[in-house]
């Protein structure tokens, strides 16, 4: 008779993952870690191939005929078209500098989220099919066969990358791993392996002007709702205009600022600022979206959605475009728009009608960021601000990946915050500015069915936030991206519920002294303020006065 095992022996269950080559570990499709597949009618609308009903949880993904050839031809075409892609496939020496820099790796511990290995998912096919050594030595040269399993793995991991580019900051060769993900996603689109949360907004935007597919009257009605809210908080009725031909400036912001919590408070801030300055600015109900989900789809789609803003600017006859607190809109404008077309000659180099500052750096894009615009106003002492109204907030600033790493936009938002709020605290140095951690849900991953993965990806950001919340009692994290505002709101509810998420122009709206305003007993969220109603507002805040008409 066998001896009865001792408790210690029974306890010896080995949970250590098996030592397998990464190529032999299939991806897991646990609920919460993948996004719903693109709906057939949406694919049809966008003219994308292989529209059908399917789910990543299915065994059969309904691959189209000849899919392998389509993928290989797709790679070949992109290698010829994009020199960068070709280089990125060849020059990685696997030094590992990027390996531990990805927020998805840090939050999941899954080695396939090391950027070098995520790129290797595609590189291994490139090697096997497009290099001589790979053709001869196959697996010994790091190559592998293109199979349905490989495609499933691509789908899993190219949609566990938010294209935030943090890894690329550390690459000694300058490989932009985000662009490898972009190529990976483009290739997946060729055979119809895509997610609805990205495609439906892209289709809506193309058809109706914004991600949610809100029609013009509803868009206008929503903003008028915010007009009422502003009147309730400040006693001032602002008067936004819509589709007004001949306006000097067209204002374009993410549609989330119009519809989503807590981004609508930022929208209230913009509207108050425009009214206070009596700015000749108009909203468009057609170019009613700054966000560009084309960036997450293909370079062609990205171009289509970006061009729409300029087409509307031309139609209205404005001089230049002012852009709101958006993430990837700015990445497209700064990194890719110049490769799409020659620019819009009908528009002019932006000049602030208030300070006279000419924004020379925007002479190609004809578009400036609202934080640049406001920072310039403050620098030139054009705003009366009462930062005490933001005293209930102990603020930190989350650098959104796209403005930070896509356009080097670090100082302007901080300058604005420091002038509108008295309590500002930075998160640790290796988690901000160019090293900022992603919210965990950029590039169209901010959907509810992906919640578990979002919590993993956002964990490094949450961890740094928790640190400043503990050290400085930070209770508000301001940010300048609509996806951030939406997704960080969910993130903090899981990791650190005492912190709220807000926008920089929400803080501006709170602090702004407007002529004819009421006692301002509440902030824009309707929360009571400690400021004495009888207190007279201080003189204009802000640093030393800059020379008017100087260049930004």
């Amino acid at each position: 008779m066998a001896a009865t095992p001792k408790p210690e022996e029974l306890q010896q269950i080995d949970y250590t993952p098996p030592e397998k080559e990464w190529m032999e570990v299939p991806p897991s499709f646990k609920p919460g870690t993948w996004c719903y597949a693109g709906k057939p009618q949406i694919l049809e609308y966008l003219g994308l191939p292989n529209p059908r009903k399917w789910s990543p949880a299915d065994e059969d993904w309904k691959f189209p005929d000849n899919w392998k050839n389509t993928i290989l031809e797709g790679i070949r075409e992109r290698l010829l078209k994009f020199r960068s892609f070709h280089l990125f496939m060849d020059i990685c020496v696997r030094c590992g500098a990027c390996a531990d820099k990805c927020h998805f790796y840090l939050g999941s511990g899954d080695p396939k989220n090391m950027p070098v290995l995520r790129a290797e998912l595609l590189r291994s096919i490139y090697r096997r099919e497009f290099t001589l050594t790979g053709k001869i030595f196959k697996k010994m040269a790091g190559g592998r066969e293109l199979t349905e399993e490989v495609i499933k793995e691509w789908f899993s991991y190219f949609y566990q990358c938010t294209e935030c580019r943090r890894c690329s900051v550390f690459c000694p060769y300058g490989i932009d791993t985000a662009e490898i993900t972009m190529m990976g996603r483009e290739l997946l689109h060729l055979i119809g392996m895509n997610t609805n949360w990205i495609l439906e907004p892209a289709a809506n935007c193309y058809r109706m002007g914004n991600h949610l597919g809100i029609q013009p009257h509803a868009f206008k009605d929503s903003l008028l709702g915010l007009v009422e809210d502003i009147e309730m908080e400040t006693g001032i009725k602002v008067d936004p205009s819509f589709n007004r031909k001949g306006a000097e400036i067209l204002f374009i912001t993410p549609s989330a600022d119009v519809f989503a919590m807590p981004a609508i408070f930022t929208m209230m801030g913009y509207m108050m600022l425009f009214h206070h300055l009596d700015l000749d600015v108009t909203f468009s109900t057609y170019a009613s979206e700054g966000g560009n989900f084309g960036l997450f789809t293909s370079h062609e789609m990205q171009k289509r959605l970006n061009y729409k803003m300029y087409a509307e600017a031309k139609r209205l006859g404005v001089k230049w475009i002012l852009g709101g607190e958006c993430g990837h809109m700015w990445r497209v404008i700064h990194q890719y728009m110049g490769t799409h077309w020659d620019g819009c000659d009908e528009l002019e180099v932006p000049v602030s009608p208030v300070t006279g500052t000419r924004f020379e750096h925007a002479k190609f894009t004809k578009m400036i960021h609202i934080c640049e615009f406001t920072a310039d106003l403050i620098k030139n002492n054009k705003l009366k601000l009462n930062p005490k109204r933001n005293d209930p907030y102990r603020v930190t600033f989350h650098d959104s990946c796209n403005p930070a790493r896509g356009m080097g936009f670090f100082e302007e938002p901080r300058y604005v915050i420091e002038n509108v709020a008295n309590n500002f605290f930075e998160m640790p140095e290796n988690t901000i500015r160019e090293q900022t951690f992603c919210c965990g849900a950029g590039t169209g991953l901010n959907t509810d069915e992906f919640m578990e993965m979002r919590m993993r990806g956002g964990y490094p950001r949450a961890s740094a936030l928790k640190y400043v919340a503990g050290k400085h009692d930070v209770n508000l994290m301001a940010t300048i991206c609509a996806i951030d505002k939406a997704t960080l709101d969910a993130l903090v509810k899981y990791w650190i519920p005492e912190v709220e998420i807000g926008g920089v122009h929400e803080l501006v709206g709170n602090a702004l002294e407007m002529e004819g305003q009421n006692d301002r007993e509440t902030n824009l969220r309707g929360e009571p303020l400690p400021v004495e109603p009888s207190e007279s507002p201080p003189a204009a805040e802000g640093g030393e006065a800059g020379a008017e008409g100087g260049e930004a």
Binding site: P17, S28, A99, D100, L106, M114, M451, M455, A486
Partner: protein, 187 residues
């Protein structure tokens, strides 16, 4: 309790082993990374696990109550509840301490030791039950957030559909009730 004294003396070894066993539940290169990367913001997972385990060990050795143990437990469980683990894998680290305690008690034997070990194991079992509660509350939270996100999307749209025009009957009440200014229910 003598065993507590021995474990206190060997705390660093116990902690290192416990940490290593938790780190080893991650695949590939990850255990090495979790162990070696010192900067807490460059290695938030490794830092949280180490901090959490240390807090738990100190608590167990000093006879801390549930309230004192809970935050340390949460540091680890909250992470593992959203990672690629089954529920049992997510909370197993608590039981792993039993094996370590048995091996690290200093080679003594006898009835007194058996009683002490039994008492320590009862404490660890108690901790395991707390871990189960903690895990479930994290998962429930996750789904609450998901539902709230969906409801928010709908309510912002509904708010526009049902808004009475300014001055119309009910407009003031509507505005006051408007959930825009309400504190989050899920908070």
């Amino acid at each position: 309790m003598e065993i507590t004294g021995i474990l206190k003396e060997r705390k660093k070894d116990v902690l290192d082993r416990w940490f290593q066993e938790v780190a080893d539940t991650y695949p590939g290169e990850t255990p090495r990374f979790l162990r070696n990367k010192a900067d807490r913001f460059a290695n938030p997972l490794g830092h949280a696990v180490r901090q959490g385990l240390e807090g738990l060990l100190n608590g167990l050795l000093s006879g801390a109550g549930d309230d004192e143990l809970a935050p340390h437990l949460d540091e680890i469980v909250r992470i593992r509840a959203v990672q690629e683990f089954s529920p049992s894998e997510a909370v197993r680290f608590v039981f792993q301490l039993k094996g370590i305690v048995r091996e690290e008690h200093g080679g003594r034997s006898g009835e007194a030791l058996a009683d002490e070990l039994s008492e320590m194991e009862t404490r660890i079992d108690r901790l395991a039950l707390l871990a189960f509660d903690n895990y479930m509350s994290c998962r429930e939270r996750l789904f609450e957030i998901r539902v709230k996100e969906l409801k928010d999307t709908i309510s912002v749209q509904a708010r526009n559909t049902w808004r009475p025009a300014a001055g119309e009957a009910g407009s003031e009440t509507f505005q006051k009730r408007n959930d825009r200014r309400g504190k989050d229910e899920a908070r």
